[in-house]
């Protein structure tokens, strides 16, 4: 078989696995959230139902071309991100398309979908959408700073920006994980991770009770369906990235699922425990302690 | 007293006149008095000029006697400063006349001869 076609088939398989995993985790997390709040909650397969429902809606309206293709941007961003990350360490096929670029490509490509979505949301003409975008972008600038510092610290530590090489360097025991070898960078990254996942206390973007759900307010039916697919894939892609950077990556799908699930739980636990920050609060918070830790991480790895 | 001759006295008088003139120009408020001070200043200047040409015991460079026509240079004073003084006096006259015309015109404008009243252009 042509290696390219084989690669594409494996990529599709990756997407399929991640999609299902994402949807199930989503359901489970909502369930956990409900139980913490002393409610019964939804069944864990509720996300599947939602997607099927959305695709079956008969009323479909469009606010214009950017609105129409915004979900495409969003999902392309999610899938692309996933495909640029080496998923399973040691497995050539599940490296997917990570030969296209290194960590920097991944860091920048995550904005592809975000910005495309923002444009579509803006064209819908709904003020809440624009407000959501404004908040989202503001918050992104803030948490990217500790994130970058953490990544730079890792880049110094391993002297590479190649994700596969970073994973390779962490093999051979738990204590080789960056989480243990570079705790400062890990703390900075994990704090940034909270906002990257968009959960409370950093959920001002969607802010359900305030600005209904922010950017996607006007999206419905198939448009929302596409967004929901992304909502399953995108967080998992990010989880895989953090797993690769800090927790030694995964050599098989089982390990991947366990590790990513626990990383996810970190944001979930914080989310159910803390109420929402205002935008200016979250911006200032990230420019405080996490920033200092990030700077410390860089300084430590540069000079020690 | 042997050393002090007419030339020293004249020189001193010239400088005193000069300084009086300057003092007058700086202190008098009346335009006409300023002009008068200016002429005093000039007079002092002219006196100094004449003194420079003067050499004791020598005569005017008018060669009317035969005695003067031999070794002339040793017997006469230097004629050039005297010629210069003439020119200087003429120029002084012109300047003084012009100043007076200005004083007249200024008086016509403001009916005042006080210098302090003419401060329209400044800064």
């Amino acid at each position: 078989m042509d290696p390219l076609i084989k690669q594409i088939l494996f990529a599709l398989l990756t997407i399929f696995i991640v999609l299902n995993y994402g949807l199930i985790v989503q359901g489970i997390v909502r369930k956990i959230g409900a139980r913490v709040g002393r409610r019964y909650g939804i069944p864990f397969y509720q996300p599947y139902i939602d997607i099927i429902k959305n695709y079956s809606k008969r009323t479909r309206i469009s606010h214009g071309i950017m609105y129409y293709i915004a979900p495409v941007f969003r999902l392309t961003g999610g899938i692309g991100l996933l495909l640029f990350i080496p998923v399973i360490f040691g497995n050539n096929m599940f490296q997917n398309f990570s030969f296209s670029g290194d960590l920097l490509l991944i860091l920048y490509f995550q904005f592809f979908g975000v910005l495309g979505m923002a444009l579509g949301a803006a064209e819908s003409g709904h003020p809440n959408s624009a407000i959501g975008v404004s908040r989202g972008l503001s918050q992104v600038t803030a948490y990217e700073l500790p994130l970058t510092l953490g990544v730079l610290s890792l880049a110094v530590q391993y002297n590479t920006l190649n994700v596969s090489e970073i994973v390779a360097a962490q093999q051979g025991g738990i204590l080789n994980w960056s989480f243990f070898t570079n705790p400062l960078a890990s703390i900075a990254l994990l704090l940034a991770f909270l906002a990257a996942m968009g959960r409370s206390p950093f959920d001002v973007v969607l802010a359900p009770q305030e600005i209904p759900i922010g950017p996607p307010t006007e999206f419905h039916s198939g448009f929302l369906g596409v967004l929901q697919l992304n909502r399953a894939i995108f967080p998992i892609a990010k989880l895989i990235l953090f797993m690769n950077l800090l927790f030694g990556g995964a050599t098989n799908w089982g390990e991947l699922i366990i590790k990513t699930f626990f990383i996810y739980m970190w944001s979930v636990f914080v989310g159910v425990a803390f109420p929402r920050f205002r935008v200016d609060q979250s911006v200032r918070w990230y420019l405080g302690v996490p920033l200092i830790i990030g700077v410390a991480a860089v300084v430590v790895s540069k000079f020690f | 007293m042997q050393n002090i001759g007419i030339e020293q006295i004249s020189l001193a008088v010239g400088f005193i006149l000069l300084l009086i003139g300057i003092w007058g120009m700086l202190s008098q408020k009346n335009i006409l008095k300023i002009i008068v001070s200016f002429t005093i200043f000039e007079t002092g200047l002219n006196v100094i000029l004449v003194v420079i040409g003067y050499i004791r015991n020598k005569t005017a460079p008018i060669l009317d006697t035969t005695e003067l026509q031999t070794n002339t240079a040793e017997k006469i004073v230097d004629p050039i400063p005297q010629a210069l003084v003439l020119t200087s006096i003429v120029i002084g006259l012109g300047v003084t006349a012009l100043l007076l015309v200005y004083a007249l015109k200024m008086h016509k404008e403001k009916k005042s001869l006080l210098i302090n009243d003419y401060k329209d252009t400044k800064w």
């Binding site: 398309f97 911006v283 | 300047v95 252009t121």
Partner: protein, 1042 residues
């Protein structure tokens, strides 16, 4: 040849004969006088021509049978010929200019004019001290006569002050002459000079009086109130005579008598001169009355000349060149400006907007201002250059500072004045009419300014190498201003294309890259010019002048050529910026920063040339002395153009208020001139250190802070073009940082980013310019929903911001990727993190830009707007295609630049394998990223279209809005203060601290200026006290006591 004695004879003869002419025949008197002056001008000109071409011998004129020293003699040498020619010419043309005024005042005024010119001629030619005194007196009496041509309180009292002051001064002169005669026994200058002047103490005091009188005639600070009052209250024509003829003669007298002065007195005179230069210009800054301002300027220029003459023993043989080139500029420009002031007759420079009613006068005014402030191609430019070079060579650094700061003050008020004339919005409903006899002298003097500039440069060993062709083409466009835009635009594009085509092969790679940005970029932005209708007067000469300057920078082989081109570019761009709306303030701050920067560059070049045999650009690469200073001066100079933080405040206004196609020119192209300068500097000088700290390290922080502040300020703008302008500041911060990395990757980033920045900024400015063109507003919150009206502009902006934000897969990402490879390689992580942060902030303003303008709710008043003009779209799509090409094939941009950098930075280059780029740290394949993204996008898009094929379009406001329907787009379109929470969180970082700082500097300088002018209280006696005190102080300084 005509014997020079006829100059005196004819002038005297005609003025006597005028006495016999009847009272009613002033016309005849006037014509006779002008004929006489024309004759004398020709005589001097003929002598000068022969001195220059045939190198004839100096001619002596003896007045009696006795030979000097026993008689008065005159002399006609090359210098005398030139100076009398200037004096006679100003007499002739000044007389022509004032013809009707003089005629109205009666024939006696013609006599006064003739006597003035005659007196000054003799003052220049005579070799006899007493004769000098007499004719100076004659001249000043004649001036006093001319002052009362206008008779009002001001002019009469000014005349009185003048008479009294010159009376004292000439008394002093006479005293000095008398005592010199007493000691030296001669009045003949040459004869006295053969004697031992050091012998007697008395003689030195006599010489002191002589010299101080001459210095006082030149109106030194602060004993010059009497001169200022005359300048400001006399008839403009008379002021021009005083400034150009009288002052020119005194300059010559100083040159002539300088050998009398012992060395310390010469330096004292020089010090007085330079102090006068600095303080007069400082005080000129607060002037509102044009004539008085010109008076300050005249005094300062003469002070500068006195300074140059005073230190001629230091400067050496080039003194003459410097004096003549500065003097000619001053002479032509100052008389021209006084004459124009006489036609305009406005008491306040703010009202000079009236000058716009007469285009010809406006152009002449501009020419004279430029000539006066020593900008190219006028002679003063070369004079100032040579002066600074020699001051540097002899290590007189304080002097360089004084010369430059004084010149800078002059630029401040001269350009403020020019700005008022060109742009002030005070409308005065009078049409300026200049009579033909007033226009002719102005035209001739303006032409002479160009001619003199060319002549002076041809005399200079390096200036003669300057390539004047581009400038000539630019000036040529001034003569075809009557043609419609279409033809001129085509010609301009053709000229630039042809120039590039015929020259690019002679450039090296670096030159090709920048020449391409400048010329091809220029052509692209010029294409947008087709959108304009009518004639668009005053655009093409300056646009081409700017491009001429830019290409001159690229081609420069000597520092002089570089500096010349730099100034040329500044002038052109200044006028382009001044064309914008409400541009007075911004254009002024632009020119001030530019000229300030240019002076730093000049000083840097001066230091660099110390001890070097020539001034080729190459000297920068082997500097032994003062290397950190040179580096610092040049770097800061270049950074004024790249608008680095602290020096950026001119940019936002200047770029935002400019026209649709000018904004991309000044923002996307012009800023690269600074980048080119920095590259040249870094390549030549490498890393420099202050103590242990590398300059590059400091610049890296300047770069990242610039990037951060620029981007953050951009995020808080409501004005679309201002937003883009701040974004340019940020982008140039990136470039500066990249250069400061001093590594292969860093430079690759900086240079490729320069190219990319050109593309996306031109794209965005053109697109936004097109939108503003249609909407007539720049405020984003007043727009909205334009995507449906202007889809093509929308696509441009969309692509533009994606490239700007550096999001893959477009070419902007290449810049970001390279940056971080370079940062990690260099281990400058903190800078890298700040840079990344500012890159993310770029998302904020990018989104705001496209959202507020194109998305959201359209406003009612924009229901009928059309797509931007076709010709503004054309260059955008040309750029778009290049962007797509570079995105697909990144190595088509990066590889040539990398190859070019190999000789300078051989280590750490990128390895290319097809489109796969690999560094020591990471890798990136632009092509596969593009394919993957496009592929996934297409599949998802297909899926969505399949699912939503029957989605129906809805009208505006059909949104879920809490069960209500909003009706006003103004209240529904969330756009004003878009990032309010962000501003609340970290807005304090962008408080206008730097702008306030510069404002305080500005106010401080003006209030100091104001304080000093208070010494001129208008009282004649105070002025006398100044003079007496001045003499006393100078006496005490030179003979001990201090």
């Amino acid at each position: 040849m005509v014997d020079p004695i006829y100059i005196v004879a004819v002038l005297l003869g005609i003025s006597f004969s005028l006495g016999f002419i009847g009272k009613k025949s002033e016309n005849i008197a006037g014509i006779l006088s002008l004929l006489a002056l024309g004759f004398t001008t020709l005589v001097s000109a003929q002598w000068f021509y022969n001195f220059v071409t045939a190198d004839i011998e100096t001619y002596h004129i003896f007045t009696t049978a006795f030979k000097p020293p026993f008689s008065i003699n005159l002399m006609m040498g090359k210098e005398e010929a030139l100076f009398t020619m200037m004096i006679n010419a100003i007499g002739l043309f000044g007389g022509l200019y004032m013809f009707d005024r003089l005629k109205a005042a009666g024939k006696n005024s013609f006599i006064a004019l003739l006597m003035l010119i005659m007196g000054l001629n003799v003052v220049v030619m005579t070799r006899d001290l007493f004769n000098l005194f007499v004719f100076l007196e004659i001249s000043s009496i004649a001036v006093a006569g001319l002052i009362v041509l206008t008779q009002n309180t001001k002019s009469i009292s000014a005349g009185f002050k003048f008479m009294i002051a010159t009376g004292i001064i000439s008394g002093l002169l006479l005293l000095g002459i008398a005592f010199i005669y007493n000691y030296a026994g001669s009045l003949n200058i040459d004869h006295i000079l053969t004697q031992n002047l050091e012998a007697a103490k008395g003689l030195s005091i006599a010489i002191f009086f002589l010299m101080i009188a001459i210095v006082l005639e030149m109106k030194p600070f602060p004993a010059n109130g009497w001169g200022l009052d005359v300048y400001s209250s006399a008839e403009s024509g008379v002021s021009s005579l005083l400034s150009s003829a009288y002052a020119t003669a005194t300059v010559f007298v100083l040159m002539k008598l300088l050998p009398f002065a012992p060395e310390n007195l010469q330096f004292l005179i020089a010090a007085i001169g330079i102090i006068t230069f600095v303080f007069s210009n400082l005080m000129g800054m607060r002037q509102d009355n044009p004539n008085r301002m010109l008076g300050y300027s005249s005094i300062s220029q003469i002070g500068l000349l006195a300074a140059v003459i005073g230190i001629s023993s230091v400067i050496g043989e080039y003194t003459y060149f410097i004096v003549i080139s500065i003097l000619i500029s001053h002479f032509l420009a100052k008389s021209g400006l006084f004459w124009i002031a006489g036609i305009v007759k406005q008491e306040s420079i703010k009202n000079w907007s009236v000058l716009r009613s007469n285009k010809l006068l406006l152009v002449l005014f501009g020419v004279f201002i430029f000539a006066l402030t020593g900008l190219p191609p006028f002679p003063g430019f070369f004079g100032k250059w040579e002066l600074v070079m020699h001051l540097a060579e002899t290590k007189n650094f304080i002097w360089i500072f004084a010369v430059l700061i004084g010149s800078f003050f002059e630029v401040v008020y001269m350009f403020r004045w020019l700005g008022y004339a060109v742009k002030n919005d005070i409308i005065i409903e009078t049409k300026l009419k200049a009579k033909i006899h007033q226009i002719i002298p102005l035209l001739l003097f303006a032409a002479a300014a160009f001619g003199a500039g060319y002549y002076v440069s041809s005399e200079h060993p390096y200036a003669s190498l300057i390539n004047y062709l581009p400038l000539a083409v630019a000036l040529g466009f001034a003569f075809i201003e009557f043609l419609p835009v279409f033809i001129k635009n085509t010609l301009a594009i053709a000229a630039m294309a042809a120039y590039f085509y015929f020259n690019y092969e002679s450039y090296n790679e670096l030159q090709v890259i920048f020449a391409a940005i400048f010329i091809i970029g220029g052509i692209l932005t010029l294409i947008a010019g087709y959108a304009y209708k009518g004639k668009r007067q005053g655009f093409y000469p300056f646009a081409l002048m700017m491009f001429a300057g830019l290409i001159g920078l690229v081609e420069a082989t000597t520092t002089l050529e570089f500096f010349f081109a730099w100034e040329l570019m500044t002038i052109g761009s200044y006028f382009l910026i001044l064309r914008g709306k409400k541009s007075i303030k911004h254009a002024l701050s632009y020119i001030l920063f530019s000229i300030g920067g240019a002076y730093l560059i000049l000083a840097g070049f001066g230091l660099a040339a110390i001890g070097k045999p020539d001034i080729s650009i190459g000297i920068l690469s082997n500097i032994e002395l003062y290397a950190p200073w040179i580096f610092g001066l040049l770097a800061i100079g270049f950074m004024t153009k790249t608008a680095s933080i602290g020096l950026h405040i001119w940019l936002p206004g200047a770029h935002a208020e400019a026209e649709a196609d000018v904004s991309p020119m000044v923002s996307a192209i012009l800023l690269k001139a600074g980048v080119f300068g920095l590259i040249m500097l870094f390549l030549a000088m490498g890393e420099q250190f202050i103590g242990n700290i590398s300059f590059a390290y400091i610049l890296s922080w300047v770069g990242v802070i610039t990037a951060l502040m620029g981007n953050m300020m951009a995020a808080f703008q409501e004005d679309a073009k201002r937003l883009l302008a701040y974004s340019s500041i940020g982008a140039l911060g990136y470039v500066l940082f990249g250069l400061s990395l001093m590594s292969h990757l860093g430079w690759l980033t900086a240079i490729s980013f320069s190219v990319t920045h050109f593309m996306f900024k031109a794209l965005l400015f053109l697109a936004i310019g097109g939108v503003v063109w249609r909407l007539k507003t720049k405020d984003m919150y007043k727009m909205g929903g334009l995507i449906k009206k202007m889809p093509f502009s929308f696509i441009s902006v969309l692509i533009g911001i994606i490239v700007l934000a550096g999001v893959p897969p477009l070419t902007g990402f290449a810049g970001k990727w390279l940056f971080f490879q370079a940062v990690v390689e260099k281990q400058w992580f903190l800078q890298g993190a700040v840079l990344f942060f500012s890159g993310i902030i770029a998302f904020l303003y990018c989104f705001r830009l496209i959202h507020s303008i194109f998305l959201g709710q359209p406003k009612d008043e924009h229901r009928n707007v059309k797509e931007a003009p076709f010709w503004i779209l054309v260059p955008q799509y040309a750029i778009l295609m290049v962007i797509m090409l570079f995105s697909m094939l990144p190595n088509s941009l990066l590889k040539p630049i990398g190859d070019m950098l190999m000789p300078y930075f051989p280590d750490g280059a990128i390895t290319w394998d097809g489109q796969m780029a690999t560094t020591a740290l990471g890798y990136w394949n632009g092509k596969t990223v593009m394919f993957i993204v496009v592929g996934v996008f297409a599949i998802v898009f297909g899926w969505l279209v399949f699912m939503n094929r029957n989605a129906k379009k809805v009208k505006q406001f059909n949104i879920g809005y809490a069960a209500e329907r909003p009706f006003l787009p103004e209240t529904t379109h969330y756009a004003f203060n878009f990032f309010a929470p962000y501003k609340k969180a970290i807005g304090f970082l962008v408080a206008p601290g730097i702008t306030n700082f510069w404002h305080r500097v500005d106010e401080g300088a003006h209030s100091v200026s104001d304080k000093f002018t208070k010494i001129y209280n208008g009282n004649a006696q105070s002025y006398l006290i100044h003079i007496v005190a001045f003499i006393l102080v100078i006496y005490l300084i030179s003979f001990g006591g201090f």
